[in-house]
Symmetry: C2
Subunit: 494 residues, 2 copies
Amino acid sequence: MEPSPRTPLSPQQRETLQAELHREWQGIRFLTELAEITPYECDGLVAFSQLPLGVVLPETEAEVQTVLRTCMRLGVPVVPRGAGTGLTGSAMPTPDGIVLAMAKFNRILEINPQARTATVQPGVRNLAISDAAAPHQLYYAPDPSSQLACTIGGNVGENSGGVHCLKYGLTVNNVLKVRAVTMDGSIIELGGAAYDSPGLDLLSVFIGSEGMFAVVTEVVVKLVPKPRTAQVIMASFDDMGKAGDAVAAVIAAGIIPAGLEMMDGPATRAIDNYLNIGYDTRAEAILLCESDGTPEEVAEEIGRMIAVFEKSGAIRIQVSRNEIERLVFWSGRKNAFPAAAQLAPDSYCMDGTVPRRHISTLLRHITTLEEKYGLKCINVFHAGDGNMHPLILFDNQAGEWPRAEAFGADILEECVRLGGTITGEHGVGVEKINGMCVQFSEAERETFWGVKFAFDPGGLLNADKAIPTKNRCAEYGRMHIPRGTMKFPELERF
Amino acid sequence: MEPSPRTPLSPQQRETLQAELHREWQGIRFLTELAEITPYECDGLVAFSQLPLGVVLPETEAEVQTVLRTCMRLGVPVVPRGAGTGLTGSAMPTPDGIVLAMAKFNRILEINPQARTATVQPGVRNLAISDAAAPHQLYYAPDPSSQLACTIGGNVGENSGGVHCLKYGLTVNNVLKVRAVTMDGSIIELGGAAYDSPGLDLLSVFIGSEGMFAVVTEVVVKLVPKPRTAQVIMASFDDMGKAGDAVAAVIAAGIIPAGLEMMDGPATRAIDNYLNIGYDTRAEAILLCESDGTPEEVAEEIGRMIAVFEKSGAIRIQVSRNEIERLVFWSGRKNAFPAAAQLAPDSYCMDGTVPRRHISTLLRHITTLEEKYGLKCINVFHAGDGNMHPLILFDNQAGEWPRAEAFGADILEECVRLGGTITGEHGVGVEKINGMCVQFSEAERETFWGVKFAFDPGGLLNADKAIPTKNRCAEYGRMHIPRGTMKFPELERF
């Protein structure tokens, strides 16, 4: 069970279809002019783009129902889109399909401080929820780097994480309920206020489904109390292996830091050169390790963290003495990507995971790949959960993109070989669809298709994303070594 | 998409099929004698029973593959079974089907204290995992009341909770990976060590699938450090409403107790009469509220809890002064069901949820139902997450079962009306299958079937459990008020 290949429409057929959709959708904003639709040709993965047949911007749930019913009847593929900040092309248009942009669903419907929930429309920005909850000393925990711009609908689609997900969980741990419209126009509600859903837990499988199941029209999220205080430790190491061991040792000591991030030497030097904030430029690795809670809890936990880092051979340990210093310590981490822009005209951000104790193995492998591909790569990542973000530096104008792309794929396959995964928090989209052939067996991929069709039997919703077809994997397999021994060779908690 | 009704086999056909299976499964233990198969006619829901065609007890994953392939080829329904402690009939045999008992899969394959994981076979008892991890000061958190007997395979099937799930989560929050065999004999692996699964999160939807998807052969669970200390508060209230408000106030204060349980007056008096441990028999409600962690954390949290209970009008507050007193306080809660046996020959344990602030509304409604049905009901439950366990007392010999059953269904429908659910942690099984018609719309139930068929296209695995067919709901709807306004009238975090 998987979708059949589609025959491309002729220019004449496209025009006829556009005209028909304009007739069907009178009163609904529907864009088909080149200048209007060009901004929708890609998402944050700018290397892949595709012009859609048109872009529809519904304003009500009833309009979403109308749009989807029409597309179902006419067999038009649909790609739902939030802010378009995704990094794997999940919101890239499907050929001859429409983009369903949810930008107008931007209202916060309720903040309930007693129940600690917010009910919002999918086009609400991640950070706007925390802003609205701030008067009640509450906030929405998942904090992807794009949180100023990205929307909660996109977060649901990608199961977004962030710096604090180690302690506070991913989107799936912070969403209570989703209301959505399926391709046939039905309304479904998944999850609810109870700890466990009766029947199958469709909410969890929905979160992270990359727009392949249904179009979200309402989300109920958990709000959590703002920690009373927070402090961060910045620890330098003269060896990446020691820093990796320190990460494993913190977790083994039973500490769950609010954030635990690592930067390698080249990243540290690039950042300090850019911001000049006194990062330890001799270091081969820097850890940022945060504690939050009551002042007593934080003091106790910071003490335990320092003991671990001392024992792991840190060459310099600083603890933020106030809120301003804490933000300065973090500012380097948060500006790593702009800093990288000083080093090369273009960069390609990867996203994979490895078991914590293999972090330094992967970093060493990346060093050998730098030689193989003749490109530099700097590393700034979520060490606590083994979620790596190698940033490959290249020059598109100089024709280096194909090498950067191959470099990235090589890193991800090494992640799988080390017992990790091809994606940590950015999803699969179009970028990593071949990686899915490496990560999963045919039986598992068939189950994915089955679940996709349970929600979308016609296979019209974002059907060319995230799950590869059997043919695609066969083709990819002919070019690469077969799967088999590569998958999860070791069972280990990250 | 849903399974078609099956034509019952004649006695002659049953015998022929049994003989064929014996031939197919030489070397695999396969029971068909009445005396041998009678123990498998029901699970913990003894009111429903059904003799299977036979019971197969494989010892290896290869034997599970053989069994499932044979059943798929011959179209024989399969019901997987753990310890049979489930309370909703999920492991009740299907007519003309076999029971696949996983009792022989009882080995703990690995305890990894560094990674904090245990890799176990599905027939391992819940408590045996914690026993094996104890030398490393680790344990497996979910603690259903049946944890001495129930197995991890059954816990995965039911997404089991327990007294401590408020703080430590359900099975779904504590399982990292599942390995399973599908009906066609394929091996699938779901989840892994990373925080987020690439592609769809099939692990979460698998956990709680009540044996309808595949047969589990291996489970990797998280282990967590044993709290350094724990204390429990026992608070009495002269009014159920005040106790309910106290529960809401604890959570609103930002406290997540390790356990937060409530007993009503009749339950308290029955328990004290049975154990004579000094429970406050004047109370109309008693709360048990536990804190665990470091001694400093516990002291601080117990102080905040006491303040909340005083403000909520508690008439007596006791704090356990040592570990023995803590266990005595809990012993009443843990012996509520044996205590109930003093009050009536039979009891029927319900399982539903309501938003916390409606706890007292539901309890008042149960009081009116006691009159309507002429039966008593006592209440001992997980107040912190609104998970109610009304225990209906009846006398089967006196023909009171049908009244008890109707009483139970009435309670669950009231749960839904109050914005809650028909099951908290016991699953749906056969017991609550009609309730699923009340809880979910037709579009939602069709999606359930679609996901079921993604794993089991032939619909042979436990297909008469958990998800109702359209016909069944239509029939149930003719007897009862229609769904519609009943579903989640209020959005609220429990």
